[in-house]
Protein backbone atom coordinates (compact mmCIF):
# COMPACT_ATOMS: atom_id res chain seq x y z
CA UNK A 1 0.00 0.00 0.00
CA UNK A 2 2.84 2.40 0.82
CA UNK A 3 4.48 1.77 -2.53
CA UNK A 4 1.17 2.37 -4.27
CA UNK A 5 0.65 5.58 -2.31
CA UNK A 6 4.14 6.75 -3.28
CA UNK A 7 3.67 6.00 -6.96
CA UNK A 8 0.32 7.79 -6.99
CA UNK A 9 1.82 10.84 -5.30
CA UNK A 10 4.71 10.86 -7.77
CA UNK A 11 2.29 10.70 -10.70
CA UNK A 12 0.54 13.77 -9.30
CA UNK A 13 3.59 16.02 -9.67
CA UNK A 14 3.35 16.61 -13.45
CA UNK A 15 -0.42 17.09 -13.21
CA UNK A 16 -0.04 19.66 -10.44
CA UNK A 17 2.66 21.51 -12.40
CA UNK A 18 0.40 21.42 -15.45
CA UNK A 19 -2.54 22.83 -13.48
CA UNK A 20 -0.36 25.65 -12.18
CA UNK A 21 0.92 26.34 -15.70
CA UNK A 22 -2.63 26.52 -17.09
CA UNK A 23 -3.80 28.85 -14.31
CA UNK A 24 -0.67 30.99 -14.78
CA UNK A 25 -1.04 31.16 -18.57
CA UNK A 26 -4.77 31.86 -18.35
CA UNK A 27 -4.01 35.49 -17.55
CA UNK A 28 -1.49 35.74 -20.42
CA UNK A 29 -4.35 35.04 -22.85
CA UNK A 30 -5.89 38.40 -22.04
CA UNK A 31 -5.18 41.00 -24.67
CA UNK A 32 -3.05 43.85 -23.30
CA UNK A 33 -0.54 43.60 -20.48
CA UNK A 34 -1.01 43.10 -16.78
CA UNK A 35 -0.02 46.61 -15.74
CA UNK A 36 -2.46 48.21 -18.16
CA UNK A 37 -5.10 45.86 -16.83
CA UNK A 38 -4.34 46.84 -13.28
CA UNK A 39 -4.46 50.55 -13.98
CA UNK A 40 -7.52 50.60 -16.18
CA UNK A 41 -7.90 53.31 -18.80
CA UNK A 42 -8.33 56.34 -16.53
CA UNK A 43 -4.79 56.60 -15.23
CA UNK A 44 -2.22 58.64 -17.20
CA UNK A 45 1.37 57.48 -16.79
CA UNK A 46 4.74 58.20 -18.30
CA UNK A 47 6.55 55.28 -19.99
CA UNK A 48 9.14 55.43 -17.17
CA UNK A 49 6.48 54.98 -14.52
CA UNK A 50 4.97 52.09 -16.52
CA UNK A 51 8.39 50.40 -16.70
CA UNK A 52 8.81 50.92 -12.98
CA UNK A 53 5.44 49.28 -12.30
CA UNK A 54 6.30 46.39 -14.62
CA UNK A 55 9.45 45.78 -12.60
CA UNK A 56 7.40 46.01 -9.41
CA UNK A 57 4.93 43.33 -10.59
CA UNK A 58 7.73 41.22 -12.05
CA UNK A 59 6.15 41.19 -15.50
CA UNK A 60 9.26 42.63 -17.18
CA UNK A 61 10.95 39.23 -16.96
CA UNK A 62 10.66 36.40 -19.54
CA UNK A 63 7.56 34.18 -19.15
CA UNK A 64 9.42 31.07 -17.82
CA UNK A 65 11.01 33.15 -15.06
CA UNK A 66 7.64 34.71 -14.23
CA UNK A 67 6.24 31.18 -13.96
CA UNK A 68 8.99 30.21 -11.51
CA UNK A 69 8.16 33.33 -9.47
CA UNK A 70 4.51 32.31 -9.53
CA UNK A 71 5.34 28.74 -8.41
CA UNK A 72 7.43 30.08 -5.55
CA UNK A 73 4.65 32.37 -4.38
CA UNK A 74 1.99 29.63 -4.55
CA UNK A 75 4.23 27.26 -2.55
CA UNK A 76 4.56 29.95 0.10
CA UNK A 77 0.77 30.29 0.20
CA UNK A 78 0.80 33.66 -1.54
CA UNK A 79 -2.05 33.56 -4.07
CA UNK A 80 -1.75 37.22 -4.97
CA UNK A 81 -3.75 40.30 -4.07
CA UNK A 82 -7.21 41.29 -5.24
CA UNK A 83 -7.15 44.16 -7.75
CA UNK A 84 -10.36 45.58 -6.26
CA UNK A 85 -10.07 45.18 -2.51
CA UNK A 86 -6.24 45.02 -2.26
CA UNK A 87 -6.70 42.16 0.19
CA UNK A 88 -4.78 38.88 -0.17
CA UNK A 89 -6.79 36.41 -2.26
CA UNK A 90 -6.28 33.25 -0.22
CA UNK A 91 -8.02 34.26 3.04
CA UNK A 92 -11.06 35.46 1.06
CA UNK A 93 -11.23 32.12 -0.74
CA UNK A 94 -10.73 30.22 2.51
CA UNK A 95 -13.66 32.09 4.00
CA UNK A 96 -15.95 31.16 1.09
CA UNK A 97 -14.68 27.61 0.64
CA UNK A 98 -16.62 25.84 3.45
CA UNK A 99 -20.03 26.70 1.96
CA UNK A 100 -19.11 25.40 -1.50
CA UNK A 101 -17.49 22.29 -0.10
CA UNK A 102 -20.47 21.55 2.17
CA UNK A 103 -22.84 22.09 -0.75
CA UNK A 104 -20.89 19.71 -2.99
CA UNK A 105 -20.61 17.07 -0.25
CA UNK A 106 -24.28 17.29 0.63
CA UNK A 107 -25.19 17.03 -3.06
CA UNK A 108 -23.09 13.89 -3.29
CA UNK A 109 -24.79 12.48 -0.20
CA UNK A 110 -28.21 13.23 -1.71
CA UNK A 111 -27.17 11.58 -4.98
CA UNK A 112 -25.86 8.42 -3.27
CA UNK A 113 -28.96 8.16 -1.07
CA UNK A 114 -31.22 8.29 -4.10
CA UNK A 115 -29.09 6.29 -6.51
CA UNK A 116 -27.98 3.25 -4.53
CA UNK A 117 -31.40 1.91 -3.42
CA UNK A 118 -33.03 2.69 -6.79
CA UNK A 119 -30.15 1.13 -8.70
CA UNK A 120 -30.25 -2.04 -6.58
CA UNK A 121 -34.02 -2.52 -6.90
CA UNK A 122 -33.80 -1.72 -10.60
CA UNK A 123 -31.16 -4.42 -11.14
CA UNK A 124 -32.91 -7.05 -9.03
CA UNK A 125 -36.27 -6.44 -10.70
CA UNK A 126 -34.73 -6.16 -14.15
CA UNK A 127 -37.14 -5.14 -16.93
CA UNK A 128 -40.02 -4.73 -14.49
CA UNK A 129 -42.23 -1.65 -14.67
CA UNK A 130 -40.23 -0.22 -11.76
CA UNK A 131 -36.96 -0.77 -13.63
CA UNK A 132 -38.23 0.89 -16.80
CA UNK A 133 -39.69 3.79 -14.84
CA UNK A 134 -36.43 4.35 -12.91
CA UNK A 135 -34.40 4.23 -16.08
CA UNK A 136 -36.63 6.79 -17.77
CA UNK A 137 -36.41 8.89 -14.61
CA UNK A 138 -32.64 8.54 -14.78
CA UNK A 139 -32.50 9.79 -18.36
CA UNK A 140 -34.68 12.75 -17.41
CA UNK A 141 -32.43 13.48 -14.44
CA UNK A 142 -29.44 13.56 -16.78
CA UNK A 143 -31.20 15.98 -19.11
CA UNK A 144 -32.48 18.61 -16.66
CA UNK A 145 -30.18 21.64 -16.40
CA UNK A 146 -29.27 21.97 -12.70
CA UNK A 147 -29.85 25.74 -12.60
CA UNK A 148 -33.32 25.33 -14.08
CA UNK A 149 -34.15 22.61 -11.55
CA UNK A 150 -32.97 25.04 -8.87
CA UNK A 151 -35.22 27.80 -10.19
CA UNK A 152 -38.19 25.43 -10.34
CA UNK A 153 -37.55 24.25 -6.76
CA UNK A 154 -37.44 27.86 -5.57
CA UNK A 155 -40.68 28.54 -7.45
CA UNK A 156 -42.51 25.52 -6.04
CA UNK A 157 -41.24 25.88 -2.48
CA UNK A 158 -41.72 29.62 -2.08
CA UNK A 159 -44.78 30.25 -4.22
CA UNK A 160 -46.83 27.12 -3.66
CA UNK A 161 -45.55 25.52 -0.45
CA UNK A 162 -44.67 28.83 1.26
CA UNK A 163 -41.44 27.40 2.64
CA UNK A 164 -38.74 30.02 3.14
CA UNK A 165 -35.31 28.81 2.15
CA UNK A 166 -33.43 30.78 4.76
CA UNK A 167 -30.00 32.33 4.77
CA UNK A 168 -26.84 30.27 4.88
CA UNK A 169 -25.71 29.52 8.43
CA UNK A 170 -22.13 28.29 8.99
CA UNK A 171 -21.85 24.67 10.04
CA UNK A 172 -20.03 25.57 13.27
CA UNK A 173 -22.88 27.82 14.42
CA UNK A 174 -25.90 25.67 13.74
CA UNK A 175 -25.52 22.40 11.77
CA UNK A 176 -29.28 22.04 11.37
CA UNK A 177 -29.50 25.57 10.02
CA UNK A 178 -26.76 24.76 7.49
CA UNK A 179 -28.73 21.72 6.40
CA UNK A 180 -31.92 23.77 6.11
CA UNK A 181 -30.28 26.35 3.90
CA UNK A 182 -28.47 23.83 1.70
CA UNK A 183 -30.82 20.89 1.16
CA UNK A 184 -32.65 22.35 -1.85
CA UNK A 185 -29.50 23.60 -3.61
CA UNK A 186 -27.89 20.23 -2.85
CA UNK A 187 -30.82 18.41 -4.42
CA UNK A 188 -30.70 20.61 -7.53
CA UNK A 189 -26.98 19.95 -7.84
CA UNK A 190 -27.11 16.24 -6.98
CA UNK A 191 -30.03 15.16 -9.18
CA UNK A 192 -27.92 14.64 -12.32
CA UNK A 193 -25.28 12.76 -10.30
CA UNK A 194 -28.01 10.57 -8.82
CA UNK A 195 -29.05 9.66 -12.36
CA UNK A 196 -25.49 8.81 -13.39
CA UNK A 197 -24.75 6.80 -10.23
CA UNK A 198 -28.03 4.90 -10.48
CA UNK A 199 -27.12 3.67 -13.94
CA UNK A 200 -23.71 2.54 -12.71
CA UNK A 201 -25.09 0.79 -9.65
CA UNK A 202 -27.64 -1.01 -11.81
CA UNK A 203 -25.23 -2.17 -14.52
CA UNK A 204 -22.48 -3.06 -12.06
CA UNK A 205 -24.86 -5.13 -9.94
CA UNK A 206 -26.29 -6.84 -13.02
CA UNK A 207 -22.78 -7.81 -14.07
CA UNK A 208 -21.93 -9.22 -10.65
CA UNK A 209 -25.22 -11.11 -10.41
CA UNK A 210 -24.29 -12.95 -13.61
CA UNK A 211 -20.99 -14.22 -12.14
CA UNK A 212 -20.32 -17.86 -11.28
CA UNK A 213 -19.66 -17.23 -7.59
CA UNK A 214 -23.15 -15.86 -7.18
CA UNK A 215 -24.51 -19.07 -8.66
CA UNK A 216 -22.28 -21.04 -6.31
CA UNK A 217 -23.54 -19.05 -3.33
CA UNK A 218 -27.12 -19.68 -4.37
CA UNK A 219 -26.32 -23.31 -5.11
CA UNK A 220 -25.05 -23.96 -1.61
CA UNK A 221 -28.40 -22.83 -0.31
CA UNK A 222 -27.76 -19.30 0.92
CA UNK A 223 -30.80 -17.10 1.19
CA UNK A 224 -31.20 -14.36 -1.42
CA UNK A 225 -30.60 -11.57 1.11
CA UNK A 226 -27.35 -13.17 2.27
CA UNK A 227 -26.16 -13.65 -1.32
CA UNK A 228 -26.98 -10.02 -2.00
CA UNK A 229 -25.47 -8.49 1.14
CA UNK A 230 -22.39 -10.65 1.42
CA UNK A 231 -21.47 -11.49 -2.14
CA UNK A 232 -23.16 -9.30 -4.71
CA UNK A 233 -23.32 -5.78 -3.27
CA UNK A 234 -19.75 -5.46 -1.92
CA UNK A 235 -18.33 -6.44 -5.29
CA UNK A 236 -20.80 -4.36 -7.26
CA UNK A 237 -20.05 -1.21 -5.27
CA UNK A 238 -16.29 -1.21 -5.95
CA UNK A 239 -16.44 0.24 -9.48
CA UNK A 240 -19.15 2.67 -8.35
CA UNK A 241 -16.65 4.31 -5.97
CA UNK A 242 -14.46 5.49 -8.87
CA UNK A 243 -17.46 7.04 -10.58
CA UNK A 244 -18.31 8.88 -7.36
CA UNK A 245 -14.80 10.37 -7.37
CA UNK A 246 -15.14 11.70 -10.89
CA UNK A 247 -18.43 13.38 -10.06
CA UNK A 248 -16.75 15.56 -7.44
CA UNK A 249 -15.44 17.70 -10.31
CA UNK A 250 -18.93 18.21 -11.67
CA UNK A 251 -20.17 19.05 -8.19
CA UNK A 252 -17.41 21.54 -7.39
CA UNK A 253 -17.88 23.25 -10.77
CA UNK A 254 -21.66 23.11 -10.46
CA UNK A 255 -21.59 25.05 -7.19
CA UNK A 256 -20.80 28.19 -9.23
CA UNK A 257 -24.15 27.95 -11.02
CA UNK A 258 -26.15 26.72 -8.03
CA UNK A 259 -24.79 29.37 -5.65
CA UNK A 260 -25.77 32.01 -8.18
CA UNK A 261 -29.39 30.84 -8.40
CA UNK A 262 -29.84 30.28 -4.64
CA UNK A 263 -27.90 33.46 -3.75
CA UNK A 264 -25.43 31.56 -1.55
CA UNK A 265 -22.22 33.40 -0.60
CA UNK A 266 -19.75 30.68 -1.59
CA UNK A 267 -16.70 30.42 -3.81
CA UNK A 268 -18.82 30.32 -6.95
CA UNK A 269 -20.28 33.75 -6.35
CA UNK A 270 -16.84 35.04 -5.43
CA UNK A 271 -15.44 33.95 -8.79
CA UNK A 272 -18.41 35.29 -10.79
CA UNK A 273 -18.20 38.65 -9.08
CA UNK A 274 -14.45 38.70 -9.71
CA UNK A 275 -14.99 37.91 -13.39
CA UNK A 276 -17.38 40.81 -13.87
CA UNK A 277 -15.01 43.15 -12.00
CA UNK A 278 -12.00 41.86 -14.02
CA UNK A 279 -10.35 40.92 -10.74
CA UNK A 280 -8.12 38.27 -12.32
CA UNK A 281 -6.01 37.25 -9.28
CA UNK A 282 -9.23 36.17 -7.53
CA UNK A 283 -10.37 34.24 -10.63
CA UNK A 284 -6.97 32.54 -10.82
CA UNK A 285 -7.07 31.72 -7.11
CA UNK A 286 -10.52 30.12 -7.14
CA UNK A 287 -9.81 28.10 -10.31
CA UNK A 288 -6.57 26.84 -8.78
CA UNK A 289 -8.14 25.96 -5.43
CA UNK A 290 -11.02 24.07 -7.07
CA UNK A 291 -8.69 22.15 -9.39
CA UNK A 292 -6.47 21.21 -6.43
CA UNK A 293 -9.52 20.06 -4.44
CA UNK A 294 -10.66 17.95 -7.38
CA UNK A 295 -7.22 16.34 -7.75
CA UNK A 296 -7.12 15.69 -4.01
CA UNK A 297 -10.54 14.01 -3.91
CA UNK A 298 -9.56 11.83 -6.86
CA UNK A 299 -6.38 10.83 -5.05
CA UNK A 300 -8.41 9.89 -1.97
CA UNK A 301 -10.84 7.88 -4.09
CA UNK A 302 -7.96 6.08 -5.84
CA UNK A 303 -6.41 5.18 -2.49
CA UNK A 304 -9.76 4.06 -1.12
CA UNK A 305 -10.24 1.93 -4.20
CA UNK A 306 -6.83 0.32 -3.82
CA UNK A 307 -7.44 -0.28 -0.14
CA UNK A 308 -10.75 -2.04 -0.83
CA UNK A 309 -9.60 -3.93 -3.91
CA UNK A 310 -6.09 -5.40 -3.46
CA UNK A 311 -5.88 -6.24 -7.18
CA UNK A 312 -5.27 -2.54 -7.93
CA UNK A 313 -2.31 -2.20 -5.55
CA UNK A 314 -0.40 -5.12 -6.95
CA UNK A 315 -1.19 -4.59 -10.59
Amino acid sequence: MQRYLFSRLLALVPVLLGILAVVFLLIRLIPGDAVQLFLGTQVEMTPEQMAELRRFFGVDKPIPLQFLDYLGRILRGDFGVSLRTARPVLPDIAQRLPLSFQLATLALAVAVTIAVPLGIVSAVARNSTFDVATRIGGLLGLSIPNFWLGAMLILVFSRYLHVSLGQYVPLSQDPLGTLRSLYLPAFALGAAIAAILMRYVRSSLLEVLGQEYIRTARGKGLRDTVVMLRHALPNAMIPVITVVGFQMGYLLGGTVVIEEIFALPGMGRLVLQAIFQRDYPVVQGVVLVVALLFVLTNLIVDLLYAWIDPRIRYA
Partner: protein, 267 residues
Protein backbone atom coordinates in the same frame (compact mmCIF):
# COMPACT_ATOMS: atom_id res chain seq x y z
CA UNK B 1 -36.01 -0.67 -24.04
CA UNK B 2 -32.81 0.96 -25.27
CA UNK B 3 -33.02 0.10 -28.94
CA UNK B 4 -36.53 1.41 -29.07
CA UNK B 5 -35.47 4.73 -27.56
CA UNK B 6 -32.70 5.58 -30.03
CA UNK B 7 -35.21 6.40 -32.81
CA UNK B 8 -37.14 8.59 -30.38
CA UNK B 9 -33.92 10.46 -29.62
CA UNK B 10 -33.16 10.82 -33.30
CA UNK B 11 -36.70 12.09 -33.96
CA UNK B 12 -36.38 14.73 -31.22
CA UNK B 13 -33.04 15.90 -32.61
CA UNK B 14 -34.29 15.96 -36.21
CA UNK B 15 -37.35 17.95 -35.14
CA UNK B 16 -35.28 20.50 -33.21
CA UNK B 17 -32.79 20.91 -36.06
CA UNK B 18 -35.71 21.48 -38.44
CA UNK B 19 -37.24 24.00 -36.05
CA UNK B 20 -33.90 25.82 -35.76
CA UNK B 21 -33.53 25.95 -39.54
CA UNK B 22 -36.94 27.38 -40.34
CA UNK B 23 -37.44 29.25 -37.04
CA UNK B 24 -37.20 32.92 -38.09
CA UNK B 25 -39.62 32.37 -40.98
CA UNK B 26 -42.38 30.69 -38.99
CA UNK B 27 -42.47 32.27 -35.55
CA UNK B 28 -45.69 34.20 -34.90
CA UNK B 29 -43.98 37.33 -33.51
CA UNK B 30 -40.82 39.30 -34.19
CA UNK B 31 -38.43 38.29 -31.37
CA UNK B 32 -37.33 41.91 -30.93
CA UNK B 33 -40.79 43.47 -31.11
CA UNK B 34 -41.59 45.00 -27.73
CA UNK B 35 -45.17 45.67 -26.76
CA UNK B 36 -45.09 47.21 -23.29
CA UNK B 37 -48.89 46.93 -23.06
CA UNK B 38 -48.56 43.14 -23.13
CA UNK B 39 -45.61 42.87 -20.68
CA UNK B 40 -45.54 39.68 -18.58
CA UNK B 41 -48.80 38.43 -20.12
CA UNK B 42 -49.57 34.85 -19.08
CA UNK B 43 -49.59 32.01 -21.65
CA UNK B 44 -52.66 31.79 -23.88
CA UNK B 45 -54.31 33.60 -26.76
CA UNK B 46 -51.82 35.41 -28.98
CA UNK B 47 -48.90 34.30 -26.81
CA UNK B 48 -48.83 30.51 -26.30
CA UNK B 49 -45.90 30.72 -23.81
CA UNK B 50 -46.73 34.22 -22.47
CA UNK B 51 -44.54 37.31 -22.76
CA UNK B 52 -41.44 38.67 -21.01
CA UNK B 53 -40.95 41.97 -19.20
CA UNK B 54 -40.71 43.86 -22.52
CA UNK B 55 -43.83 42.21 -23.91
CA UNK B 56 -41.80 40.03 -26.27
CA UNK B 57 -43.31 36.66 -27.23
CA UNK B 58 -41.66 33.88 -25.18
CA UNK B 59 -42.69 31.16 -27.66
CA UNK B 60 -41.00 32.91 -30.60
CA UNK B 61 -37.89 33.53 -28.52
CA UNK B 62 -37.69 29.89 -27.34
CA UNK B 63 -38.05 28.71 -30.95
CA UNK B 64 -35.41 31.11 -32.28
CA UNK B 65 -33.22 30.40 -29.23
CA UNK B 66 -32.81 26.83 -30.49
CA UNK B 67 -30.48 28.17 -33.20
CA UNK B 68 -27.79 29.43 -30.80
CA UNK B 69 -28.00 26.33 -28.63
CA UNK B 70 -27.66 23.92 -31.54
CA UNK B 71 -25.08 25.94 -33.49
CA UNK B 72 -22.83 26.32 -30.44
CA UNK B 73 -23.28 22.65 -29.50
CA UNK B 74 -22.51 21.30 -32.98
CA UNK B 75 -19.55 23.64 -33.59
CA UNK B 76 -17.98 23.12 -30.17
CA UNK B 77 -18.29 19.34 -30.39
CA UNK B 78 -16.78 19.56 -33.90
CA UNK B 79 -13.81 21.39 -32.36
CA UNK B 80 -13.54 18.77 -29.61
CA UNK B 81 -13.73 15.90 -32.13
CA UNK B 82 -11.14 17.45 -34.44
CA UNK B 83 -8.68 18.20 -31.65
CA UNK B 84 -9.40 15.16 -29.50
CA UNK B 85 -9.37 12.42 -32.15
CA UNK B 86 -6.23 13.83 -33.80
CA UNK B 87 -4.40 13.83 -30.48
CA UNK B 88 -5.85 10.46 -29.45
CA UNK B 89 -5.22 8.69 -32.77
CA UNK B 90 -1.63 9.86 -32.86
CA UNK B 91 -1.15 8.84 -29.22
CA UNK B 92 -2.70 5.41 -29.67
CA UNK B 93 -1.13 4.62 -33.05
CA UNK B 94 2.39 5.93 -32.57
CA UNK B 95 2.70 5.53 -28.79
CA UNK B 96 6.06 6.63 -27.37
CA UNK B 97 6.79 10.12 -26.11
CA UNK B 98 3.86 11.74 -27.96
CA UNK B 99 1.47 9.34 -26.22
CA UNK B 100 2.95 10.16 -22.81
CA UNK B 101 3.06 13.94 -23.33
CA UNK B 102 -0.33 14.36 -24.97
CA UNK B 103 -2.15 12.15 -22.51
CA UNK B 104 -0.63 13.99 -19.53
CA UNK B 105 -1.80 17.21 -21.17
CA UNK B 106 -5.31 15.74 -21.42
CA UNK B 107 -5.12 14.70 -17.75
CA UNK B 108 -4.38 18.32 -16.90
CA UNK B 109 -7.41 19.61 -18.81
CA UNK B 110 -9.45 16.89 -17.10
CA UNK B 111 -8.24 18.06 -13.69
CA UNK B 112 -10.39 21.18 -14.02
CA UNK B 113 -14.14 20.83 -13.50
CA UNK B 114 -15.60 21.25 -17.01
CA UNK B 115 -17.93 24.14 -16.33
CA UNK B 116 -15.36 26.03 -14.25
CA UNK B 117 -12.73 25.75 -17.01
CA UNK B 118 -15.26 26.99 -19.56
CA UNK B 119 -16.16 29.89 -17.23
CA UNK B 120 -12.48 30.79 -16.79
CA UNK B 121 -11.79 30.66 -20.54
CA UNK B 122 -14.82 32.86 -21.26
CA UNK B 123 -13.79 35.28 -18.52
CA UNK B 124 -10.38 35.68 -20.10
CA UNK B 125 -11.30 35.63 -23.80
CA UNK B 126 -14.48 37.68 -23.46
CA UNK B 127 -17.96 36.81 -24.63
CA UNK B 128 -18.48 36.07 -28.31
CA UNK B 129 -19.93 33.17 -30.26
CA UNK B 130 -16.45 32.17 -31.45
CA UNK B 131 -15.01 32.18 -27.92
CA UNK B 132 -18.00 30.22 -26.64
CA UNK B 133 -17.34 27.50 -29.23
CA UNK B 134 -13.63 27.41 -28.36
CA UNK B 135 -14.25 27.32 -24.59
CA UNK B 136 -16.74 24.45 -24.73
CA UNK B 137 -14.74 22.66 -27.44
CA UNK B 138 -11.52 22.69 -25.41
CA UNK B 139 -13.29 21.45 -22.30
CA UNK B 140 -14.67 18.35 -24.06
CA UNK B 141 -11.48 17.54 -26.03
CA UNK B 142 -9.96 15.08 -23.49
CA UNK B 143 -12.92 12.69 -23.72
CA UNK B 144 -12.41 12.31 -27.47
CA UNK B 145 -8.66 11.96 -27.07
CA UNK B 146 -9.11 9.16 -24.54
CA UNK B 147 -11.82 7.32 -26.45
CA UNK B 148 -9.97 7.41 -29.77
CA UNK B 149 -6.63 6.58 -28.18
CA UNK B 150 -8.10 3.48 -26.52
CA UNK B 151 -9.72 2.35 -29.76
CA UNK B 152 -6.55 2.96 -31.81
CA UNK B 153 -4.45 1.14 -29.21
CA UNK B 154 -6.77 -1.85 -29.34
CA UNK B 155 -6.41 -2.36 -33.08
CA UNK B 156 -2.90 -1.17 -33.86
CA UNK B 157 -1.24 -4.48 -32.98
CA UNK B 158 -3.87 -6.69 -34.61
CA UNK B 159 -2.85 -8.85 -37.55
CA UNK B 160 -4.68 -6.90 -40.23
CA UNK B 161 -2.65 -3.83 -39.37
CA UNK B 162 0.58 -5.86 -39.53
CA UNK B 163 -0.60 -7.26 -42.86
CA UNK B 164 -1.24 -3.76 -44.19
CA UNK B 165 2.23 -2.71 -43.08
CA UNK B 166 3.76 -5.81 -44.65
CA UNK B 167 2.07 -4.85 -47.90
CA UNK B 168 4.04 -1.64 -47.75
CA UNK B 169 1.24 0.77 -46.87
CA UNK B 170 2.27 4.07 -45.32
CA UNK B 171 1.20 5.24 -41.88
CA UNK B 172 -1.28 7.77 -43.24
CA UNK B 173 -3.00 5.11 -45.32
CA UNK B 174 -3.06 2.57 -42.49
CA UNK B 175 -4.58 5.09 -40.12
CA UNK B 176 -7.14 6.22 -42.68
CA UNK B 177 -8.16 2.77 -43.96
CA UNK B 178 -7.72 0.54 -40.94
CA UNK B 179 -7.58 2.53 -37.70
CA UNK B 180 -10.18 5.25 -38.22
CA UNK B 181 -13.02 2.86 -39.15
CA UNK B 182 -12.46 1.09 -35.84
CA UNK B 183 -12.42 4.33 -33.88
CA UNK B 184 -15.62 5.58 -35.46
CA UNK B 185 -18.07 3.61 -33.31
CA UNK B 186 -16.94 4.78 -29.85
CA UNK B 187 -16.39 8.32 -31.14
CA UNK B 188 -19.93 8.44 -32.53
CA UNK B 189 -21.36 7.46 -29.15
CA UNK B 190 -19.19 10.09 -27.48
CA UNK B 191 -20.33 12.74 -29.98
CA UNK B 192 -23.96 12.20 -29.07
CA UNK B 193 -23.29 12.34 -25.33
CA UNK B 194 -20.99 15.36 -25.67
CA UNK B 195 -23.63 17.24 -27.66
CA UNK B 196 -25.99 16.93 -24.71
CA UNK B 197 -23.27 18.22 -22.35
CA UNK B 198 -22.40 21.04 -24.77
CA UNK B 199 -26.01 22.26 -24.84
CA UNK B 200 -26.10 22.21 -21.04
CA UNK B 201 -22.78 24.10 -20.91
CA UNK B 202 -23.87 26.76 -23.38
CA UNK B 203 -27.06 27.38 -21.46
CA UNK B 204 -25.24 27.46 -18.11
CA UNK B 205 -22.66 29.96 -19.43
CA UNK B 206 -25.38 32.13 -20.96
CA UNK B 207 -27.34 31.89 -17.73
CA UNK B 208 -24.31 33.23 -15.84
CA UNK B 209 -23.94 36.07 -18.33
CA UNK B 210 -20.75 34.65 -19.86
CA UNK B 211 -22.23 33.09 -22.99
CA UNK B 212 -24.71 34.40 -25.52
CA UNK B 213 -25.45 38.04 -24.77
CA UNK B 214 -28.90 39.66 -24.89
CA UNK B 215 -30.75 40.74 -26.97
CA UNK B 216 -29.86 37.55 -28.93
CA UNK B 217 -32.20 35.01 -27.34
CA UNK B 218 -30.63 31.82 -26.00
CA UNK B 219 -32.28 29.44 -23.59
CA UNK B 220 -29.70 30.21 -20.92
CA UNK B 221 -29.99 34.00 -20.99
CA UNK B 222 -33.80 33.83 -21.23
CA UNK B 223 -33.79 31.80 -18.04
CA UNK B 224 -31.50 34.31 -16.41
CA UNK B 225 -33.78 37.21 -17.32
CA UNK B 226 -36.92 35.27 -16.46
CA UNK B 227 -35.58 34.44 -13.03
CA UNK B 228 -36.15 38.03 -11.88
CA UNK B 229 -39.88 37.58 -12.41
CA UNK B 230 -40.00 33.99 -11.23
CA UNK B 231 -42.83 34.52 -8.78
CA UNK B 232 -45.09 36.68 -10.93
CA UNK B 233 -44.32 35.32 -14.41
CA UNK B 234 -42.87 31.82 -14.05
CA UNK B 235 -43.45 31.03 -17.77
CA UNK B 236 -40.38 33.12 -18.60
CA UNK B 237 -38.19 30.59 -16.80
CA UNK B 238 -40.23 27.42 -17.30
CA UNK B 239 -40.32 27.19 -21.11
CA UNK B 240 -36.65 27.81 -21.97
CA UNK B 241 -35.73 25.16 -19.38
CA UNK B 242 -38.18 22.66 -20.85
CA UNK B 243 -36.70 23.31 -24.30
CA UNK B 244 -33.19 22.56 -23.01
CA UNK B 245 -34.45 19.41 -21.31
CA UNK B 246 -36.19 18.02 -24.40
CA UNK B 247 -33.22 18.54 -26.73
CA UNK B 248 -30.68 17.23 -24.19
CA UNK B 249 -32.92 14.21 -23.61
CA UNK B 250 -32.93 13.61 -27.38
CA UNK B 251 -29.11 13.46 -27.48
CA UNK B 252 -28.98 11.27 -24.37
CA UNK B 253 -31.50 8.81 -25.81
CA UNK B 254 -29.60 8.64 -29.08
CA UNK B 255 -26.26 8.25 -27.31
CA UNK B 256 -27.58 5.45 -25.10
CA UNK B 257 -29.15 3.66 -28.05
CA UNK B 258 -25.99 3.98 -30.13
CA UNK B 259 -23.86 2.67 -27.30
CA UNK B 260 -26.00 -0.44 -27.00
CA UNK B 261 -25.96 -0.90 -30.75
CA UNK B 262 -22.24 -0.33 -31.31
CA UNK B 263 -20.81 -1.81 -28.14
CA UNK B 264 -21.85 -5.46 -27.99
CA UNK B 265 -20.18 -5.97 -24.60
CA UNK B 266 -22.91 -4.00 -22.89
CA UNK B 267 -25.77 -6.01 -24.32
Amino acid sequence: MRNRVAPIGLAIIAASVLVALVAPAVVPHDIRAMSPGDALAPPGGRYPFGTDEFGRDVFSRVVVGSRISLVVAFLSVAVAVALGTTIGLAAGYYGGWWDAVSMRAMDIVFAFPAILLAIAIMAVLGTSLFNLVIAIGVVYTPQFARVSRAAALAVRSLEFVDAARALGLGNARIVWRHIIPNVLAPVTVQISLSLSLAILSESALSFLGLGTQPPTPSWGNMLSEGRQFLEIAPWNAVFPGLAIMVVVLGFNLLGDGLRDLLDPRLR
